[in-house]
């Protein structure tokens, strides 16, 4: 799975994009966030307040229950501030 991080999430994690192999028991967005938090202090700190984190799966907004598969492109980012 390809992961992308933006804005302060990218800065806190210290990674712009990475390729990961998901464990079999991670099947949706909520599960992905729990799994990412266990990957290190930088992830735990960046994803601490997970209510504000937005997730896009294949460039469309997703919900906690959105299902994931290995070929997905998943982006995590804070609330947007463009316009």
């Amino acid at each position: 799975m390809k992961l992308l991080y933006f804005a302060w999430l990218r800065q806190k994690i210290g990674v712009e994009t990475e390729q990961v192999a998901l464990p079999d028991d991670v099947t949706d967005v909520a599960g992905l966030i729990v799994w990412l938090k266990g990957r290190g202090d930088n992830y735990a700190e960046a994803l601490k307040n997970d209510k504000v984190i937005k997730v896009a799966v294949n460039q469309a907004y997703a919900r906690p229950g959105t299902a994931l598969k290995g070929s997905d492109e998943v982006a995590l980012f804070p609330p947007v501030t463009g316009g």
């Binding site: 992308l4 933006f6 804005a7 302060w8 896009a56 460039q59 469309a60 907004y61 492109e73 982006a75 980012f77 804070p78 609330p79 947007v80 501030t81 463009g82 316009g83």
Partner: protein, 156 residues
């Protein structure tokens, strides 16, 4: 027509391009967002706009299609810049053309409200105390929610 670019844009030229050769257009509404000097005259506060390139294009195409389904539109132009911008510079342009004034005005407001809350852009401000990510505002979410309540509405 949707463009995401570093370069500045000329509102007059975009308007002429949108309306040329279509004499069925009665009105064109537009909104231009500008970089505000947040430091109130005590020094320039530039910003850098980061964005999620593929998603921006995809999402903008979808919201343009939604606007065209809701209102009778002759044309839509959306230009959003990214990169470093100084106070006073143009950030975003929304232009909507329609046979009818209300359709142009409402769809323009709809699109800019949507861009503010859904388009994947993030502003990093330079301040005298260092750089700071701009926080999303609840009032912007409320502005977008307004259009969801009006879901079925279509004026022309």
């Amino acid at each position: 027509m949707i463009r995401v670019q570093r370069e500045d844009f000329d509102v007059g030229a975009e308007l002429r391009a949108l309306t040329a050769h279509d004499t069925g257009i009665g009105g064109v509404a537009s909104f231009v967002g500008l970089v505000r000097d947040m430091t109130s005259g005590t020094g320039a506060s530039a910003m850098t706009l980061e964005h999620y390139e593929g998603m921006t294009q995809k999402q903008l195409a979808e919201v343009e299609a939604e606007a065209r389904a809701r209102w009778e539109l002759s044309g839509v132009t959306i230009v959003h810049r990214y990169g470093r911008l100084e106070p006073g510079e143009q950030i975003v342009l929304v232009l909507t053309a329609s046979p009818h004034r209300q359709a142009a005005l409402e769809s323009c407001a709809f699109l800019i409200d949507w861009l503010k809350t859904r388009a994947p852009f993030w502003k990093l401000e330079e301040t005298p105390e260092g750089s700071r990510w701009v926080e999303a505002r609840a009032s912007d979410d409320a502005a977008t929610a307004r259009w969801e309540r009006d879901g079925g509405k279509r004026s022309s």
